[in-house]
Symmetry: C2
Subunit: 163 residues, 2 copies
């Protein structure tokens, strides 16, 4: 079933890039906590906790830690899971589809094989321009770009962060 | 796949009832605009518009009209669709999973066959006690109860509202 995506340039942030690792390894890096935590935050930020229940309505939560030691928990759930192709989650719903007290955005990841490489597209969808601008100020483009670079290096190095 | 439901008596409103119509007709009444609009509001309120794109991420929107003629549009999308069994939608996400500017609740409908009748369970899940209380004040129990009674009569009368 096709996802009825409705892109809106006024409300979406998009990051698109070709990365030099195969699509099944990108999927692995995005869907197992041990292979997601090392690269998921721009260093020196780290991820101290990650829960993945890989099915629609299932939990996707992470806790980020600032270099000063402050913790930032993010709770959400998956909406659409198609292995090696598409992953959609949102923080507007908690696990089991309960409305979240802090709704912010929905993330859509699209992975397309290009030989042994992957065309990687990340879309952050917002409900209004205010949230979009807030996400831009939080550093969406730099941040999401940095973590893709980190993920690529992590996968190439045999699922270990390069020294 | 089982829905990872996480009921919470402090945040959920529940309506449960046995109704004397078969489960496939209940499904039909809930999933086709022409068979949903006549019973979906407690009369003399009416539904003037209904959009159904019956798949996860697909639109479920209705517009309700008060007896004084005021229109109340509600936009949302489906999250989980299992024919004759389960229907989940939310107004916290617009069609295509975009965060909604007016998030309020997620609805879970569970239909279980009991011979030629149906055990009907409706759950309204909220993100906090404030929203729950607001929904209670709006008349959840009377309202949802009334429309189930209307739906049962509508189905029994051959998908026509009794005179």
């Amino acid at each position: 079933m096709n996802l009825p995506l409705r892109p809106d340039p006024k409300l979406d942030l998009v990051l698109e890039r070709d990365i030099d690792v195969p699509v099944d390894l990108v999927w692995k890096a995005w869907t197992t906590p041990e292979h997601l935590m090392p690269w998921f935050c721009p260093l020196p930020w780290t991820v101290t906790d990650c829960k993945i229940d890989l099915r629609p309505g299932g939990e996707f939560s992470t806790t980020m830690r600032s270099p000063e030691g402050q913790l930032f928990p993010n709770r959400g759930c998956y909406l659409d899971v198609v292995k090696n192709e598409r992953l959609v989650w949102t923080d507007t719903l908690l696990p089991g589809y309960r409305p979240s007290p802090k709704p912010f955005f929905t993330a859509v990841l699209l992975f397309t094989p290009k030989g042994n490489a992957t065309h990687y597209k990340a879309i952050a969808m917002h409900g209004n321009e205010e949230t979009l601008k807030q996400h831009e100020k939080m550093g969406f483009h730099d941040g999401w770009g940095t973590v893709v670079t980190q993920m690529e290096a992590f996968i190439k190095n045999g699922f270990k962060m390069p020294a």
